[in-house]
Amino acid sequence: MTGTAGDTSGGMTEYIQHHLTYLTVQLRPGAFWTLHLDTVFFSLLFSVGFLGLFIRAAHRATPGVPGKFQCAVEMLIEFVDQIVKETFGGKSRLVAPLAISVFVLVFLMNFMDLLPVDALPTVARDLGVGHLRTVATADINTTLGMALCVFLLIQWVGISEKGLVTFFREWFTAPFHAHGTVAQILLAPANLLLRIIEEAVRPLSLSLRLFGNMYAGELIFVLIAVLTLDASLSHLSTYLFGPIQLVADFIWTLFHILIITLQAFIFGMLSVVYLSMAAERH
């Protein structure tokens, strides 16, 4: 693996920074209107791919003897369905589709981390695109976007399962249950505070956990790549760092296979848990 950062002077900082720079497009003036084109591209690519395959498979699904692809999808579906049934007490049309979408999408976006860090950016550079970050889940916008989406769905499930009145009353009456009007009024601020913290922490923990894992994983891949940056056959260090890089990259890739799956699973699983908690009455 050789360094391909060499737009300008080269060097480690340059290389790492290059790898951490998004391909952006400015929709309007102002910092907020900066769109990460690469993140959106890859996440949409996987979304469309997943949707296309899944919906196509769904429409071709037969109750008879399933084909190989249908079998594979069904295994995934039954896996998710099993988890949702075990975790989610109530009956909801939303939870299982949400869980499978989260699991598949996060896994696919995470999987880009296993490609060599320079592979796609090099191709992009040859096509005239200066920067490219391939791991969409290493972008806090993606993870927070998904987490906020889950957050809104949690509220929606809470309202639709319990009704508007119960839903809002619980803001003030749980987790501290009080008997008597005075005690209820006294405890209401504390309950509301805890509720706000609880609700706010969920999307934050969901998004930051995934983002942190993927960002760190990506960074370590970049650092491993840096070992032989600007290497040449005449340098002794190449023969020292080359093998180290090979072994380190191999080990980290193996480890990362576990991490990307686990993170996808955790994100999906926690979404299901949160939704089931939202559906419960206190």
Partner: protein
């Protein structure tokens, strides 16, 4: 960390994916899976029923075979009995016929014997008369010697 418009785009995109999966993917799969479950359940039930029917049919068949065997045994027994009777009857008839034939033959033999004896006696009497006449060298007149001849004849017949 640069939280920006990307977040909104990603959130909306994710929501759309979930919505589409929820409406156009998941239910179809669930329908197929449930339909298959039903089919398998029905198939298993049908197999069970078939097995039960088969068992019942086997028992029935065994009963029929047993009945048929009994009937056959009865028929054979009856046939044997009838055969014995016929043989018995035939034996009786044959014995009676034989006896009749033997009696008839004996009768005939006796008749024949008495006839032969009669003829023989006559011949002997004739011979005796002829011999006597030759001894006496004259004709014996049957009329005159009828009493003598009759006595002689009786003697021969008795002797």
């Amino acid at each position: 960390m640069d939280i920006a418009i990307t977040l909104v785009v990603q959130g909306i995109a994710f929501f759309l994916v979930v919505w589409l999966v929820m409406h156009f993917g998941w239910p179809a799969f669930m329908q197929a899976l449930e339909a298959r479950q039903r089919k398998i359940a029905e198939g298993l039930a049908a197999a069970n029923k078939g097995q039960k029917d088969l068992d019942e049919a086997k028992i029935k068949a065994q009963e029929i075979v047993r009945e048929a065997r009994e009937k056959a045994a009865q028929i054979v027994e009856q046939a044997n009995k009838r055969a014995n009777e016929i043989v018995e009857e035939a034996k009786l008839a044959a014995t009676a016929e034989g006896r009749r034939l033997v009696a008839h033959a004996q009768e005939e033999i006796a008749m024949e014997a008495s006839r032969a004896r009669e003829a023989l006696r006559r011949q002997v009497a004739d011979l005796a008369v002829r011999g006597a006449s030759r001894l006496l060298e004259r004709e014996i007149d049957p009329k005159t010697h009828a009493e003598l001849l009759g006595k002689l004849e009786l003697e021969i017949a008795n002797g």
